[in-house]
Amino acid sequence: MKTSISKGNNLTRRILSTTGIIVVLIFWHKLSQNYHPLILPSPQETFQALQKLWQSGSLWASTLITFRRTLLGYSAALVAGMFTALLFSTCRFLQDLFRPIITVTQIIPPVIWIVLAVIWFGIADDLTPIFLIFIVTFPVVFINIFSGLESVDLRLVEMAEVYRCSRRKIMLDVYLPALVPHVVSAVSLGLSFAWKSTIFAEFIGSSSGIGFVISMANANLETEKLFAWAIVLILLMLVFEYGILTPLNKRVTRWKRHD
């Protein structure tokens, strides 16, 4: 009985959200009839642009470039963020010394960083976007992991010590599992940041990648291409979020559920 109700709710929710999307599409279609395609291309024109992108191979080429940069900058930030968090949690002195700097890094808006990066590295193909991703996502990762470390239940560590567990075992079976959900949340939070930063950086300071192609479309007044890319980006993020991160999150926090 209970399950059928929740299933019904799920179905209703799906129908509602699908309806929402259809309404937006219809609205977009109607609205575009009143404007020049330069200002608001119609859904059909956008779809044709998308098809052209696909056929020319530019869709995959640019996506791959951007993806590679995001991955590089972001894994660097992940490793560095985790390492710093671990280091700071074991050394009060380092924490007091560097914590404010990390906070300041986080407060500085990305625009400032990108301008600085262009000044420092020029319109470098890889360096500028990768630097921006790193500098923007590093504090996010650090703060998440650090708060994760602080939230480890020390009473469980005491229990493990009373029962003579080795330090290695305590690290692997007490600290690590407590940390995993924080790592996953750091990854998913940081990743959407990372994507946006890469594209932003490519838009301003690079000569390849999705951001650069968008800036070209902008310069050539190809608004329908902009729309096509927006759709590609939305789809990519959705695939990441619901195809990878949500299932991963569910898996690592399996023990939290009561079923």
Partner: protein
């Protein structure tokens, strides 16, 4: 029952905590000897330092003064006042987490499954703590402690908030295991009946700064103890009198 080997010796233990208004003296001069195989009940007002004392014995906390003597290879198990289970490990995983430090895999499995069977948890061995009731978690704590075949078992109010039938079942299980394994047992309680029915010796603690107020040896063998036995009743009444003294 009591052999003449000493499992644990506490000598003039002192312990205080710093708080906003200076120092809070908790334990003031506690000396206690636990013989191998002996069952001792600690009873005393809330906040007098029973948990603190068990924490000192288990090595979680250090005394400010005094000495603690025990064999370095003493196998100690501790049933905490509130369950301390790893939420990401199953019932079986939680037991194995501590058991693997002491027993070989085969023996461990036998001991574990026997205890799970006896406590009615065997069907739940693949469940996570979040899926257990409060009483089940308490049972699991007890199983985990017994599963390492300890020489000294510390238990902090192990039978609180259990339904009557379950409480008696667990006490019976504990006594059977004690009979077979011969570990020393030191447990805290607020229930004079429980103390007198289970222990060889009842140690009544005063309020802070805490000292040993009185020690009672319960002479009867456990089979002879019933709530209506005059010796038992007399001891229960004595404990109640001592505990209430300060409140008159």
């Amino acid at each position: 029952m009591t052999k003449n080997t000493i499992t644990l010796e506490l000598n003039q233990i002192h312990k205080g905590f710093k708080n906003t208004s200076g120092e809070l003296k908790v334990l003031a001069d506690i000396s206690l000897t636990v013989q191998a195989g002996e069952i001792i009940a600690l009873i005393g007002p809330s906040g007098c330092g029973k948990t603190t004392l068990l924490n000192i014995i288990s090595g979680i906390a250090a005394p400010d003064r005094g000495t603690l003597r025990q064999s370095p290879s003493l196998r100690l198990a501790y049933v905490f006042q509130e369950p301390r289970l790893l939420p990401w490990k199953t019932v079986e995983g939680n037991i194995r987490f501590v058991q693997d430090n002491f027993l070989a895999a085969q023996e461990g499995k036998e001991v574990r499954e026997k205890l799970l069977q006896k406590t009615g948890l065997l069907a739940y061995k693949d469940s996570y703590p979040a899926q257990l009731s409060g009483g089940m978690k308490q049972r699991l704590e007890l199983v985990r402690a017994l599963a390492i075949k300890p020489q000294l078992l510390l238990m902090d109010e192990p039978f609180k908030s259990l339904d009557l039938a379950l409480k008696f079942d667990l006490q019976r299980l504990l006594l059977t295991e004690h009979e077979q394994e011969g570990f020393a047992l030191l447990f805290t309680t607020h229930d004079p009946d429980e103390a007198v029915m289970l222990a060889d010796r009842v140690v009544v603690l005063s309020d802070k700064p805490t000292q040993i107020h009185q020690e009672m040896v319960i002479g009867l063998t456990r089979e002879k103890r019933t709530k209506t036995n005059p010796h038992i009743q007399e001891n229960v009444e004595r404990i109640i009198r001592v505990l209430l003294e300060r409140h008159i």
